[in-house]
């Protein structure tokens, strides 16, 4: 119990004093999370809608792969990205400007997108498939273009679509294994809240680890409150 209370006190102290090391870690965490979530949303929502609305040969296989991806062990993703991006790996050896180097923020973003994309796409697909199939016919009959009809279906599925974004966010912010492997937990560069917690715990600094944990939870909570707020307002007619 001692660690708990001293952790809480330290968390408050770190926040009030705006500890520069902590601020750095929070900024990197938010940058990785924000960028990865942006990409997985921009790719995942169209992919999920497409899978939910169209029928094509092999669709079941794609969905089976997607569901597998939803439960993919992050360390395996981390290992995969590590091997791809390392200097001798198939992508890393190309030395192309848009391919991130290992142990950078961008490499962490790549891993995070791979982890969260199946969640966003999978939950979006389920939400879209839950919409009354007659709705599409109805809005087409009212003169909607194909694109407008798809948009109408997504609007009907909006609750589920927002849940998909929240699930993607949750998987990214809580991820530790993959970002540790491809980011390297470098102080002042690729250290994020989760990897810092692992490090401080292994060093025996339980109160600092706990403080970081409390800050992580608070950030997650605040973000979710903001998203729920968005859900309530932005989608009203």
């Amino acid at each position: 119990m001692d660690e708990m209370s001293s952790g809480l006190i330290q968390a408050i102290r770190l926040i009030i004093t705006r500890d520069p090391a902590l601020m750095q870690i929070v900024v990197v965490s938010l940058r990785v999370t924000g960028t990865a979530l942006l990409f997985s949303t921009l790719l995942g929502i169209p992919l999920g809608s497409w899978l939910g609305l169209t029928r094509f040969p092999g669709r079941r296989w794609v969905i089976a792969l997607l569901y597998t991806g939803m439960g993919f062990p992050p360390v395996v993703v981390g290992l995969f990205v590590y091997l791809m991006l390392s200097r001798s790996g198939p992508l890393g050896s190309l030395q192309l400007p848009f391919i991130p180097r290992l142990f950078t923020v961008n490499a962490m973003v790549v891993a995070q997108v791979i982890i969260s994309l199946p969640l966003v796409a999978g939950f979006t697909m389920a939400a879209v498939m839950g919409v009354d199939p007659n709705l599409r016919q109805q809005v087409l009959s009212l003169g909607a273009t194909n694109w407008q009809a798809t948009l109408a279906v997504l609007m009907e599925a909006r609750l589920g679509v927002i849940v998909s974004i929240i699930a993607g966010f949750g998987s990214i912010i809580s991820e530790v294994g993959a970002v540790m492997m491809v980011g390297g937990n470098i102080e002042g560069a690729t250290r994020v809240l989760t990897t810092a917690i692992v490090l401080e715990t292994s060093k025996g600094n339980f109160d600092l680890a706990l403080a970081l944990g409390i800050i992580l939870l608070s950030l997650s909570f605040l973000t979710n409150v903001m998203m729920l707020h968005l859900q309530g307002r932005a989608f009203e007619p």
Partner: protein, 243 residues
């Protein structure tokens, strides 16, 4: 009055190997209420989907005025937007009554959404419910919203697919009056599909009997009910079973 809106020649529609509709010839005139009666499974709803260009005929020619003839390709947007359907079961958008009625106008980029929506809601007696969420409406109210969102875009042709099935007499007469008024005052051409012969008798100018995907008889309403040429029509209007 005598302009032809739809002309169907040798039109058929099949799903896989199952042919559900075969119309040798059918004309629908401008400004009429054209009733289509027949037992369920006769192909009535399929006919409406073809007339709304939601599906293309498997073979044959479907002409819409001089604007469009089916040739396997989908009807262009500006043609599709001149026709709309009120389905038997209204699928409303999960938003307010106002939002539902405004939908067709918004996707057209209409400039006078507010005025038109309010006028139409008044017409169907739903002004008080404009701000209500559509999912809380009763069946009759929901169907009136469906009718309002079809009327508000001022279609040339309004297709009605069993619009009053399962509704109470009050809502049935309300909807029938709105439809009659729409036809009389705006000259909207209406195709009314119903299994209720009395409704066809009350509203339609001409009536067709559809049986097993084929048009058995087309006649002016009086003739259809009082002196049908086809014995199957006679049996159907008497309420006897038709195979």
């Amino acid at each position: 009055m005598s302009d032809v809106v739809y002309r169907l020649e040798q039109v058929s529609k099949a799903y896989g190997s199952r042919e559900v509709l075969r119309v040798d010839f059918l004309k629908i005139q401008e400004g009429e209420i054209f009733g289509v009666v027949g037992p369920s499974g006769a192909g009535k709803s399929t006919l409406l989907r073809l007339l709304n260009f939601l599906e293309a005929p498997t073979s044959g020619q479907l002409h819409f005025r001089d604007s469009y003839s089916s040739n396997g390709s989908r009807a262009p947007l500006d043609v599709r937007r001149r026709v709309t359907t009120v389905f038997q079961r209204p699928v409303l958008l999960n938003t307010s009554v106002y939002g539902n009625v405004a939908y067709g106008l918004k996707i057209r980029g209409d400039k006078e959404v507010r005025r038109k929506v309010e006028a139409t809601l008044a017409q169907v007696g739903l002004s008080d419910l404009a701000r209500e969420q559509a999912r809380f409406l009763s069946g009759g109210e929901a169907q009136r919203v469906a009718l309002a969102r079809a009327m508000v875009i001022e279609p040339e042709v309004l297709l009605l697919d069993e619009p009053t099935a399962n509704l109470d007499p009050y809502n049935v007469s309300l909807i029938e009056n709105i439809v009659t008024e729409l036809n009389r005052e705006r000259g909207t051409t209406i195709v009314l599909v119903t299994h209720n012969v009395f409704q066809a008798k009350r509203l339609a100018h001409r009536v067709a009997l559809l049986l097993d995907g084929k048009v058995m008889e087309v006649a002016p309403v009086q003739e259809f009910f009082e002196a049908p040429r086809d014995p199957r029509t006679a049996a159907f209007v008497r309420g006897e079973m038709v195979y």
